[in-house]
């Protein structure tokens, strides 16, 4: 029984980590009023770049850096289209997803061919990792997992206690009002989009190198959209986003658990489970919302 619980919770955290990571980035950009539906594509690109970097330089750390840099660049390009040119955010985001689908396949076949690379090694915390159950579930992970959970209170602090956080929240609500007090709306939105791109890139790298350590085509499989859902379900607030991520991770872990039981034969339905739970949760909780008033609208200075 203890094994069962440990396995379930470990699987939960493993799935939840990339969701939370990407969603923490999205909290910032969504709060600043940008809907980045291209997260899926950025994560997929990050997954590929992570493996590529690790393959080329033989270090998962280099892979992570490459994924973060690639994600940041995509965030910058997204900002250029949606903030400077004021293109429709949804359309650009979908463009990113379609682009990433083809781009990653091409690069993979050219350079990687799904090669096995060195993934993120586990880094057990001394002493704490020896605790029964808790030690395995909480303190026996690769570095990115610890960083992800440390980023939760940090994000909260930045958003609510710092000058930058106040500007981010204000820009999403009423960009014009920010303009009248001398805030540079464009610079602010570029900043959060690059940041959220970097987070999504890293989230993608964790998808490909957190467990399997190889890239398979289309492996992000909707996790970018789930990260968006986590962000909404978590009411655009870091701590709730973490809880939402763990909840969705549990749905995924439940899927794997059920696959090994007698109803495992209906695996198509079980595969739907996390997505189904996402939809139901969003329908139920969509109302209470910190969703910013200026969400999705490009700002035009007269």
């Amino acid at each position: 029984m203890a094994d069962l619980i440990t396995n379930f919770l470990s699987a939960d955290i493993r799935t939840a980590t990339p969701l939370i990571l990407a969603a923490l980035g999205l909290v910032m950009s969504e709060r600043a009023g940008i809907v980045n539906i291209g997260t899926e594509g950025i994560m997929l690109t990050g997954a590929l770049l992570g493996c590529l970097g690790s393959f080329l330089w033989g270090s998962s750390f280099a892979g992570a850096l490459l994924a973060i840099a690639g994600g940041g660049l995509m965030g910058f390009i997204f900002a250029f289209f949606t903030v400077s040119i004021r293109a429709n955010q949804i359309v650009v985001g979908m463009g990113f997803n379609i682009f990433a689908g083809g781009f990653t396949i091409t690069l993979n076949r050219l350079l990687l061919s799904g090669a096995k690379v060195s993934g993120f090694p586990d880094y057990p915390i001394p002493l704490l990792s020896k605790l029964p159950i808790l030690g395995e579930v909480l303190f026996n992970w690769p570095i990115p997992v610890y960083l992800t959970f440390l980023a939760v209170p940090l994000s909260w602090f930045v958003l609510h206690k710092t000058n930058t956080g106040l500007k981010i929240r204000a820009v999403g609500e009423n960009p014009k009002a920010c303009d009248t007090v001398g805030i540079n709306v464009f610079r602010n939105r570029y900043g959060v989009l690059i940041y959220s791109g970097m987070m999504a890139g890293m989230a993608g790298a964790f998808v490909s190198m957190g467990q399997l350590s190889s890239f398979t085509e289309g492996m992000v499989a909707g996790k970018g959209f789930m990260a968006l859902a986590v962000c909404v379900f978590g009411n655009y607030s870091p701590v709730s986003v973490m809880l939402a991520g763990i909840f969705f991770g549990a749905a995924d872990a439940l899927k794997y658990r059920l696959l090994t039981t007698s109803i495992g034969g209906y695996y198509q339905f079980l595969n739907m489970l996390p997505y189904f739970i996402t939809i139901v949760a969003l329908c139920v909780f969509a109302r209470r919302s910190n969703k910013p008033a200026g969400s999705g609208i490009a700002y035009r200075k007269e």
């Binding site: 206690k161 009423n174 303009d179 009248t180 910190n290």
Partner: protein, 503 residues
């Protein structure tokens, strides 16, 4: 020689091909209240937005404190000591009061110290006798409080020159007096105020001098003490003599046409917006609905016109029950509706004039046959309506958006009145219009009344209500505070009612 805090020299501002300000020069003395007067679209706000750095570019020079100022953005303007309270407040409702105050301050530390900022803010509020709790969210403040917050926000940034863009439009008469007292305090301390308005009596009351803009140019700069009466100011503003009073025949009543019995409904947020409201409007009279914006007037109108669900009470139109009917059924009962926001409810801006005309009546025999529109007739009829109601448009094929605000409103009024309604609901019929268009639309409403239509008119302009209405119903927080006959209606009697005070 007077000491000027601000001199704007030969300012020209173009938007694409339109010239909003042309060669405007303006000098403001230190410590005065200087009015900027002009009709809608005369370029008052544009000029001030240039000064505040809201636009990318302008031509001309601005001197502040006798030094040439290079204003690239609001940041520069704030640093110089210019504060602006925009007509539409630049506050963020989801943030707290103090967060709004410190937002964007250049001496903010990385980690905000809101506690000491709040202390400074409270002291400032105490000094000017307008304390606001710094820790509540702005969405919980009344409109009057929000305005005070905007002023404090500017003072917190050490503004020496305060620009108030139509500040009294959203206030009760009592709050207006409070604002004027505050302005007096500020100028006595050496602050300077630019007061943008088109309300002549306010300018006569509190301003020292006045610059009048007409069609983007300076028409005149005058000292208020040299002006005899508001008639004189009005003539300067419009460029010709205007009659400020409207002629009206005595009331001739025809039966009760609109009856509302203990009506209740909720706001968009699900809170009670209209509470147990009852009144009757008879044919041949104008019932004015008076109150500060947001006290249930809009919701009341929406209930009567079928745009909102009635949660309690009944509505009768021409003696048949109209509670919770849909808008088409209500229109069929003989109701015409001049909506509060012509862009949102009155017309489809991107559609042509003739298309907009047929939106209401497209099902009628004259307009269509077997589901096909009779364009030939619709076009000639649109032409008639435009001619009858003085709508200036190159053709009826013009997109409604391309008309000026006044012509759009005249078109909406024309479309609604040509259906010869027995009940007319007119909401802010003259909002955003110049004096000429306002007087025209008012005269058309009076004509309807004289023909026996029951008119219900919602407005926030007290002068307009007092002048036109036969009776005035005052609403406060969704309740009827009282119904006043025209002969008893004065600012002094209506003001307290609007603020929710009953003797």
């Amino acid at each position: 020689m007077a000491e000027y805090i601000l001199e704007m020299k030969n300012i020209t501002k173009r938007f694409a091909s339109v010239v909003a300000n042309e060669d405007v020069s303006l000098s403001i003395e230190k410590g005065e209240v200087h009015a900027l007067l002009g009709e809608n679209g005369a370029g008052k706000s544009t000029l001030m937005n240039c000064l505040y750095g809201m636009y990318d570019s302008y031509e001309g020079e601005i001197y502040f404190d006798n030094k040439l100022a290079n204003i690239q953005g609001p940041k520069n303007a704030i640093d110089l000591g210019i504060g602006m309270v925009h007509q539409h407040f630049m506050l963020i409702p989801a943030l707290t009061v103090i967060e709004n105050v410190v937002l964007g301050l250049k001496d903010n530390k990385r980690v905000l110290d809101l506690v000491s900022a709040a202390e400074k803010f409270v002291q400032l509020g105490r000094k000017y006798n307008m304390e606001i709790d710094p820790w509540i969210k702005v969405e919980q403040l009344s409109v009057g409080q929000q305005q005070r917050l905007e002023i404090l926000k500017a003072l917190y940034r050490n503004a020496k020159l305060l620009i108030l863009d139509e500040p009294t439009a959203v206030l009760t008469p009592g709050e207006v007096d409070g604002l004027f007292e505050m302005m007096a305090t500020l100028t006595s301390e050496g602050h300077t105020v630019i007061f943008i308005s088109h309300k002549l009596n306010e300018i006569m009351k509190i301003c020292d001098s006045c610059t009048i803009l007409r069609l983007g140019k300076v028409a005149a700069t005058v000292a208020i003490k040299d002006i005899k009466n508001r008639q004189e100011l009005a003539a300067l503003m419009v460029g010709r003599e205007v009659r400020l009073t409207t002629q009206k025949a005595p009331v001739k009543l025809f039966g009760e046409k609109l009856v509302v019995k203990s009506l209740s409904c909720n706001s968009d947020r699900g809170l009670p917006a209209v509470k147990d409201v009852s009144f009757k409007v008879r044919g041949g009279e104008i019932l004015g609905i008076c109150g500060v914006d947001g006290n249930g007037q809009s919701e009341l109108v929406h209930c009567i016109t079928g745009l909102r669900k009635v949660t309690g009470g009944q509505i009768f139109i021409n003696n048949s029950e109209a509670t919770n009917l849909n808008p088409r059924q209500i229109l069929k009962l003989g109701v015409s509706h001049i909506p509060e926001d012509r862009h949102k409810y009155g017309m489809v801006g991107s559609m042509k004039i003739d298309e907009n005309l047929s939106l209401i009546s497209y099902k009628e025999a004259l307009y269509s046959k077997n589901g096909l529109l009779k364009w030939k007739w619709i076009r000639s009829h649109s032409k008639e309506v435009c001619d009858d109601y003085n709508v200036k448009t190159p053709s009826v094929q013009e997109a409604a958006n391309n008309l000026s605000g006044g012509n759009q409103q005249k078109f909406v009024v024309g479309r609604e009145l040509e259906r010869s309604p027995s009940v007319l609901i007119a909401v802010h019929p003259s909002r955003g219009l110049d004096i000429g268009a306002t007087k025209y639309i008012q005269s058309q409403i009076i004509k309807q009344r004289d023909n026996g239509t029951a008119v219900m008119m919602v407005s926030t302009e007290l002068d307009e209500l007092i002048e036109l209405s036969d009776r005035i119903l005052v609403m406060y927080e969704g309740e009827v505070m009282g119904i006043v006959e025209q002969k008893d209606a004065k600012r002094e009697t209506l003001g307290p009612l609007m603020a929710g005070i009953k003797e």
